[in-house]
């Protein structure tokens, strides 16, 4: 599916700034707008499978 260039650019900038985002980690995550202090190593999501 075709996505607009502006959306692709926004995602690119978003993930560059918010490198600590994880979908379902176990530790507290910063607010997406906060600047990350360090990259977190987090486990993924349990029920994506039975890990």
């Amino acid at each position: 599916m075709k996505l607009s260039k502006s959306l692709i650019s926004a995602i690119l900038i978003g993930i560059a700034i918010q490198t600590t985002l994880v979908s379902c980690g176990k530790d507290e995550q910063p607010k997406p707008q906060e600047k990350p202090k360090q990259t977190q190593a987090l486990d993924g999501c349990p029920a994506c499978g039975m890990g």
Binding site: L7, I11, A41, G44, P46, G49, G51
Partner: protein, 374 residues
């Protein structure tokens, strides 16, 4: 065969999104699957991620995949009530083409500290599962589906899983996500052939297929064995692509094939390249087996008859057994210790059939439970 859409599991995860970006730039991703209940610790969802969801929602190509509902908890819990409220709000904000959840119950002290484990296939669990699926439908008013489980304790469970899924889904006229890596785990952990297993699933109820990678682990309880685990942290193995080729033509209602990988397996440039290559291979297989000029199958996994959810179905004996089992797995220092505790528990000589459980799978259940209890 109608057009089948090539999709990715796409959540608010920098590594996943970075891996998806080249595919998005090339307009290859035809739909996304979003775990709408996995943002419980994110206080503010970025506008650009909402925009991404909206773009797919507007084209009716957004599908929702729940993680934390704990379908088979014997007791109806406040967290489940809240989960349904959240689903209802989210389904108003976005147009989901369908909503799915996982099979099993969550261990752990609360919904976000545990792992989904299997349940006995009985009239009690059937009634609880049917009740919960009806409630999910009531909350979202979209087709509802369930994913086959990767983990089983015994070959008997493995062989009964497909038929039990069919019974569960009947009142909501729901559908199955056939996770082929989960199936692969079953084939390898229980030495069953694909033909034998696939014949046990109601393939006319498969609307979605998942593919993913996983990992191998040695067994101490059964040293001759290595256990296939559904860790979603590696590229899709060749065997799973073979299963995809064999399965697509047998699923006449198939609409989505979704590639799943966790962000923690996508940290390097090399792993992202594997992700890209795997998607292309998946898309090529889909295109070989479906008519890309046709329209996708239309909704028809909607309830055929009205139903009531006035009375909540619960079973406190089952709930206590679930708590007991969770506590044993989460605290056992070894397989032997777990066996001793299980033999002395209320699960002994019960519908749980713990006497039939394979040692290497008990050992795996301990590892899974302890992995997710933190």
């Amino acid at each position: 065969m109608p057009k089948v859409l090539s999709a990715v599991a796409c959540n608010l995860d920098a590594n996943i999104l970075a891996a998806c970006l080249p595919l998005m730039e090339e307009s290859r991703i035809e739909a996304i699957e979003w775990s709408f209940d996995a943002l419980y610790k994110v206080k503010e969802v970025p506008a650009w991620f909402q925009e991404l969801l909206t773009a797919f929602s507007d084209e009716n190509r957004l599908i929702g995949h729940g993680v934390f509902f704990s379908l088979f908890s014997g007791k109806w819990l406040p967290e489940q009530e809240n989960w349904l409220k959240h689903l209802s709000q989210t389904a108003n904000a976005f147009q989901f083409d369908h909503i799915t959840e996982h099979f099993g119950f969550m261990t752990g002290k609360d919904f976000h500290h545990g792992a989904p484990l299997n349940i006995p296939y009985t009239a009690t669990t059937l009634n609880i599962g049917r009740d919960r699926l009806k409630r999910i439908y009531e909350a979202c008013k979209r087709p509802v589906g369930l994913e086959n489980l990767a983990f089983s304790y015994s070959l008997d469970e493995v062989k009964r899983h497909g038929a039990f899924l069919e019974q569960l889904l009947e009142p909501v006229n729901g559908f199955i996500i056939l996770d082929l890596h989960n199936l692969y785990c079953q084939l390898r952990n229980f030495d069953v052939t694909f033909e034998e297993m696939i014949a046990l699933y109601p393939l006319d109820r498969v609307r979605e297929i998942h593919i993913s990678g996983g990992s191998w682990e040695d067994s101490v309880a059964t040293p001759s064995r290595t256990i296939r685990r559904d860790t979603h942290d590696d590229a899709v193995p060749a065997e799973v692509f073979q299963l995809l080729e064999m399965t697509i033509p047998r699923c006449p209602q198939l609409k989505y094939v979704v590639m799943e990988q966790l962000g923690n397996g996508l940290e390097t440039a090399e792993s992202k390249q594997y992700f890209y290559n795997d998607f292309l291979r998946m898309q090529e297989i889909i295109q070989q087996h479906s008519d890309q000029t046709a329209s996708p199958v239309t909704d028809h996994f909607l309830p055929l008859l009205s139903f009531s959810t006035d009375t909540i179905v619960e079973d406190m004996t089952l709930y206590q057994q679930q708590l007991e089992l969770s506590a044993i797995f989460e605290s056992a220092a070894s397989y032997d210790e777990a066996i001793q505790a299980l033999s002395a528990s209320s699960l002994a000589n019960s519908d749980w059939r713990i006497e039939q459980w394979e040692p290497h799978m008990i050992e795996t259940a301990i590892k899974i439970s302890q992995k997710w209890m933190k």
